[in-house]
């Protein structure tokens, strides 16, 4: 006769104990899984100018230093960043109102001047882009900012995977020989499943 209430008591006791313990245990298990998991990032690099070459390589090399798995898919103008010779990457102030135009040499008052040159004049001076690029490279050097070559090789050393868009290679008439070693030539179908699994996915 007294068995049923006792069973009910035990059940209730178990239930109460489980309610106390379970959330804590689940929390611990989730934390342990989070700590043992390697974070991952995928980047689509689509720009081929000196200024836009920085974000993908800075983020990729830093993420690799943090222990993340990183893959970059280079497509369209981004393919320029994978060429053996990237000394000809340029930056253009033309039509780029966000770019400060300051001189990397001379006394401080001179260096702090911002040269607001109208687009029409910039466009009319032959070699304007080359001069702007030269000045930019000097500014980069003065500020102890790494070169693209350095960031690219640091990324590769840290096992960042580079995927080159095969379609763009053909579209722009490039040859595989134009590019650095250790690239995978592939397409969107290769990249997307990687991006799907990644914690961070960026389009640059």
């Amino acid at each position: 006769m007294g068995a049923t209430p006792e069973v009910a008591n035990i059940e209730e006791l178990i239930q109460r104990r489980l309610d106390e313990i379970l959330p804590q245990r689940i929390e611990q298990a989730l934390l342990a899984r989070e700590e043992s998991r390697t974070p991952s990032m995928t980047i689509i690099a689509t720009k081929g100018t000196l200024d836009w070459a920085y974000p993908p390589f800075i983020l990729a090399s830093t993420a690799a230093a943090l222990g993340w798995d990183v893959k970059i898919f280079f497509t369209f103008y981004g393919l320029n960043l994978l060429k053996k010779d990237i000394s000809d990457l340029k930056v253009s102030p033309l039509g780029n109102p966000g770019m400060p135009m300051k001189m990397p040499f001379g006394p401080d008052w001179f260096k702090s001047l911002n040269w607001n040159i109208p687009n029409l004049i910039q466009a009319g001076i032959p070699g304007f882009e080359s001069v702007a690029t030269l000045l930019m490279k000097q500014t980069i050097k003065n500020n102890g900012v790494a070169s693209i070559e350095e960031l690219r090789s640091l990324s590769q050393e840290a096992d960042v995977k580079f995927i080159a868009c095969q379609m763009t290679v053909e579209l722009f008439g490039f040859k595989h020989d134009d590019f650095i070693d250790r690239l995978d030539f592939a397409g969107a179908a290769t990249f997307l499943p990687e991006a799907q699994k990644a914690d961070v996915s960026l389009f640059i």
Binding site: I58, A65, L66, A146, L154
Partner: protein, 75 residues
Amino acid sequence: MNFDKYLDARGLNCPLPILRAKKALNDMTSGQVLHIISTDPGSVKDFAAFAKQTGNELLSSSENNKEFEFYLKRK
């Protein structure tokens, strides 16, 4: 503080101090201490985040006359 390796990151800008530190740590053994000096003001927060994410312990972080000094213990 005692240390096993020294990294002069003065004059280098983001992300080079972190990348060089990571490289230096790769050549060290567990428990060894890396001493870093940098001039990049961003490196203060960056080294704290780096330590937190990678599990290498940031033993100390200090500023002295616009130079930043870090001691990192390898995991």
